[in-house]
């Protein structure tokens, strides 16, 4: 996925650096969940195919338990979210929806905070809905970890959002 033209349209410019709302964030989260699920399915397919290749005669279709599947999904989701939030600040879903996760002052999340945030989202995803009624558009995880999610259509470094966020905070 590319950003194509690096110019942000006129209508979206005032929003850059301001906190993203629930619709955008839920859409980004849905994209991430679907992506992780597809990745898991692909991994499972690869695993089954490899076993078939290695032992064609004794091959039996594995019967994964629901608990095992959920655990694998949880682990992969947490890894996916924590690595991307800790490095680029945006998952693929965030990238598609044009948002970035930043710290309180627009700084990039550290690895520990990104990991804890990922765990909190994987354990209690409904906390995301709090940003629908939060004045600051903060989810419960944002409140706990002092993070925020801002509109950032251009994938420049997350530090560059700091002035926008500070400026916005002063005006509000």
């Amino acid at each position: 996925m590319t950003d194509g033209d690096p110019v942000v349209p006129q209508g979206a410019r005032p929003y850059q650096g301001t906190n993203a709302g629930v619709a955008t964030r839920v859409a980004a989260a849905a994209i991430d969940v679907v992506l992780v699920a597809l990745g898991l399915l692909a991994g499972y397919g690869g695993y089954v195919g490899l076993r078939l290749l290695l032992d064609p005669r004794g091959y039996r279709l594995p019967d994964p338990s629901l608990a095992g599947g959920m655990t694998a999904f949880f682990v992969v989701l947490v890894l996916y979210l924590s690595v991307l939030w800790g490095t680029t600040g945006r998952t693929y879903g965030d990238h598609v929806m044009g948002i970035t996760v930043v710290g309180g002052h627009g700084s990039r999340l550290g690895p520990i905070r990104a990991f804890v945030r990922a765990v909190l989202y994987a354990v209690f995803p409904l906390g995301l809905l709090w940003c629908a009624i939060s004045v600051r558009r903060h989810s419960l995880q944002d409140v706990v970890l002092r993070t925020q999610v801002v509109y950032a259509w251009l994938p420049h470094p997350v530090e560059s959002h700091a002035p926008d966020i500070e400026g916005w905070a002063k005006e509000s």
Binding site: G4, P9, T18, T24, A27, M97, A132, R136, E171
Partner: protein
């Protein structure tokens, strides 16, 4: 008695000769420009001087208006325009009538199959395809479509965010203090201008 001594001739290099040529060119340009300027001034003066005379010639006094040269020339011009239009229409009709007949006659005498066989169509098509960078065109159009789609999705998200914020917070914070004026850094419906809960 005067003695003539032969002095060795010095060759003029091209570099030294160039300024002279440049000088001549500049002089010619100056003469042309000055002449044109003078011509314009003369023509303007002559026209200014001759204006009363020309007016007298075109509209002589004591001559009925219908017989004045200006009127006669005007009538002639109008008739000429009518003739021009009529002739153009006539030529158009003739071309409409004759062109298909002539084309048909020429085509009947031509062996188009033989002509086509003599042309290396494959080579021409290859050349055309090589000249047109199809992969780049496909890449560009696909990329544009993708970025347009992404932009549309993002704008839809922003609009939905604002709509949800307005819908949910209005009943929740009905008794809130008045909202701050919306600025560019705090778009309507964003977290900025919305009132704090009381």
């Amino acid at each position: 008695m005067t003695q003539v001594v032969q002095v060795p001739r010095r060759d003029t290099p091209a570099v030294l000769a160039r300024p002279d040529r440049q000088l001549v060119v500049d002089a010619i340009v100056a003469i042309v420009v000055e002449s044109l300027g003078a011509g314009v001034v003369i023509a303007r003066t002559a026209s200014r001087v001759a204006a009363p005379v020309s007016r007298l010639v075109w509209r002589p006094p004591l001559v009925p208006t219908s017989l004045q040269p200006a009127t006669l020339v005007g009538v002639l011009a109008r008739r000429g325009a009518e003739h021009r239009v009529a002739t153009g229409q006539q030529v158009g009709r003739m071309l409409d009538a004759w062109t298909p007949m002539i084309t048909e006659t020429v085509l009947a005498r031509l062996d188009l199959d033989a002509i086509i066989h003599r042309v290396d169509l494959v080579a021409i098509v290859d050349e055309v395809i090589a000249g047109v960078d199809l992969p780049a065109i496909i890449r560009e159009s696909t990329g544009t479509m993708a970025s347009e789609t992404v932009r549309g999705v993002r704008m839809t998200g922003i609009t939905a965010d604002d709509a949800i914020s307005r819908t949910l917070r209005r009943p929740l914070f009905r008794r809130a203090r008045p909202a701050a004026p919306a600025g560019p850094a705090a778009p309507a419906g964003s977290a900025g201008p919305l009132p704090e809960p009381t």
